[in-house]
């Protein structure tokens, strides 16, 4: 018993030593050997899939008119959520819409210390249900992901949100619908 115990200690020691060595090797030899155990970060946006219809994020990312929005979604860490099964309706302000905001607004929102504000604004552009343009009716309230409401008006086939932004195009996506709008929706101050 004692002899065996001693053996076990030696085995353990050798094991520990060789492990330490191996770890050092691993650290020095790039990240190759770590791939196997590395925790994958992010969500369904990483799924390799060239066959399925594009999701709302990929639709926005594929539009040259939405580079500001896509950058903001990234900064707000909403890519994984919006790549989920949804369904989502995304009101997607164009670059021009963002440009209409007071100078410096976007830059300020893109700062790390203002991430919560950016998230609030972006979540005010998303609702969890896939609303096609024909579903909107005059006076309808849409509950947004940030907890606020957007009021819809429909006049002469023109769909306006909060009286400030107009839907200029609607694009179906795999996990919802993207409505391109010409203004940024600002959430009412919450108290």
């Amino acid at each position: 018993m004692k002899k065996n115990f001693g053996l076990a200690v030696i085995v353990f020691a050798i094991f520990t030593l060789s492990c330490t060595n191996e770890n050092k090797e691993n650290n020095s030899s790039a990240s190759n050997s770590n791939n196997e155990t590395a925790v994958t970060t992010g969500g369904q946006e990483n799924v390799k899939d060239d066959v399925s219809q594009k999701d709302v994020v990929k639709v926005a990312a594929g539009s040259k008119d939405h580079t500001t929005l896509v950058a903001a979604i990234k900064q707000a860490e909403l890519i994984s959520s919006l790549s989920n099964a949804g369904p989502f309706t995304v009101f997607a302000p164009t670059n021009a819409a963002f440009d209409k905001l007071p100078a410096g607004t976007v830059d300020k929102l893109m700062k790390n210390e203002n991430k919560a504000d950016l998230q609030d604004i972006l979540q005010y552009h998303v609702t969890t249900s896939s609303l096609k343009a024909e579903y909107f009716t005059d006076g309808m309230n849409v509950g947004m992901v940030n907890g606020g409401n957007v009021t819809v008006s429909v006049k002469d086939g023109k769909i306006m949100l909060n009286g400030t932004a107009t839907i200029v195009a609607s694009i179906p996506a795999s996990n919802g619908t993207v409505h391109v709008i010409d203004g940024v929706l600002l959430p009412p101050a919450t108290k």
Binding site: V9, F12, F15, C19, N23, S52, N84, G86, P87, S174
Partner: protein, 670 residues
Amino acid sequence: MKHPLKTSLFMLSFAFAGLLLMQSCKPKGTSSAAGGDASKAYVAPGKYDEFYNFVSGGFSGQMPVYGIPSGRLLRVIPVFSVDPEKGWGYSEETKPMLNTSNGFVPWDDLHHIALSVTNSEHDGRWVFGNANNTPRIARIDLKTFRTAEIIEIPNSAGNHSSPFITENSEYVVAGTRFSIPLGDKVDVPIDTYKDNFKGTVSFIGVDKTTGEMNIAFQILTPGVNFDLARAGKGKSAGWFFFSCYNSEKANTLLEVNASQKDKDFIMAVNWKKAEEYAKAGKGVKKQVKYAHNKYDESTHSATSTIENEVLVLDPKDCPDMIYFMPCPKSPHGCDTDPTGEYIVGSGKLAATIPVFSFTKIQNAIASKTFDGEYDGIPVLKYDAVLHGEVAKPGLGPLHTEFDANGNAYTSMFVSSEIVKWNVKSLKVLDRVPTYYSVGHLSVPGGPTKKPHGKYVIAYNKITKDRFLPTGPELSQSAQMYDISGDKMKLVLDFPTIGEPHYAEAIPAELVMKNSVKIFKIEENKNPYVAMGEGKTKVERKGNEVHVYMTAIRSHLTPDNIEGVKLGDVVYFHVTNLEQDWDVPHGFAVKGANNGELLVMPGETQTLMWKPDRVGIFPFYCTDFCSALHQEMQGYIRISPAGSNVPLLFHTGKTKPSVSTPDTKDSGKTK
């Protein structure tokens, strides 16, 4: 005994603690008994297994797929039994797949696997499975992991010796387990077995491009029981070897009466010659009845056709086509090694494992070294065709697989072990216990020309205390052993479904690259497709009501339906409009007593419902699809027979509208 065991356990736990401390550390090799072997089965979260393992689901009638080395169950492919999880055999579109000459058979018994091969190596296109009871062969398309075709085998009774495959997938075979009277005179006393009962082995042609099967020819044989089979490879590729037992031709108490002779047979078939005879018109066309079912991925529907003719070759008219080789006692497995030179017979009651030499078989045939005849068929002299015998291999040898180093692995049912031996030297090299009573076994690529080795997986018949108890029935255990070294090492236990018989494992990259993600909606040719919500409608044709419904996150269209009456038969044709990988929708309506649906992206499936009472019946999506899955629901109103409630349907704010039957294209194709 206790003392050393405790000590080693103590050491084991100590070493294991060390492993835990050094989490990121992976020991090289397998020197550590505790961690080394277990780590072989570890597949990190998000990582893939190295092999797909297609396993027979035994009496479940299905074909489960596991990842190796993890043993994770990846999918159960429905084949010969209805499967409520997938709607198989419940939707109107899939019902014809289970049609036979006996009508709809909801449950069969799937025993053996054959992956398609090119040049005797796996090509990852199809996997075949046999129905043991109602004789059939199924072909599963590995692009979709769905059963694409099922063909029934006439003149067969118990399709056990099946569906083994030739070197370029020219044929899969179907040897009958039971011999029976064939032809017109079938109402005979059972004890006239010796005079009236015959066997057959069928060669089912496989189309090179489409995989479509047809029965090319059957060979009429003496009335023995066919058990298992293997095609030759390389030099022996033109031959097929079938093990058979009951050469005594017993018709009762086979447990005793089929073990009277010291040797039964392996039947060697020169299938290239048989093919020539068939082409030369040497066969006779026999009137039979069998179902041939195909699933069309563009209509998402199956058709079942009853065929009436089969070509039968009688060895009397076809000399030099088949030979019998004596094989001790009641051979079960019959396996050819990767070179094609050696054929291993495993007599389950034999004390040795005979290994036959293809070269010697050819010499014996050429020199007519016969040991008489069996029902007019030449019997080759045992000693003339024998390469040698594995002495004292274990008890109850059943099946043999091979590695790339000239070694064989034979399962021993009675002594519950796997025995490793060298094919050339016939020396036993190693043995490991299995838990318990191993049946088939599988080495990745084991039946091919180029085995991948690495593991051998035992599929055991008895589980008992191996898992947590679950009442009288336990799932059968599989055990995976590392065979990369000289000694086999147990790595993993995992549960299986049904009772696994044969299995094959194939490198994942041969299959995964072809996997279909969605069905393209614009290519959906189902006659009842609704190609978008604007195309949804409800049509009445007499007492049939056809609902052309769509499903997309997160609503069904239409979701309010009225004007259906007692006595109507309602067909819900549900099209999944999603074009997104892994987003199926389900469908169930309250009171439907024949099933539900599961509909893949871009597909249309149909549930038939005969309402039996008046009222409002909810329906909903049964597959959690989205955040608003629980909102994905609707109602159908059933009114009394003769009521004048108008037919109407809508979703959301859509204005109610009434459809009038369109006489132009009204459902003629179904």
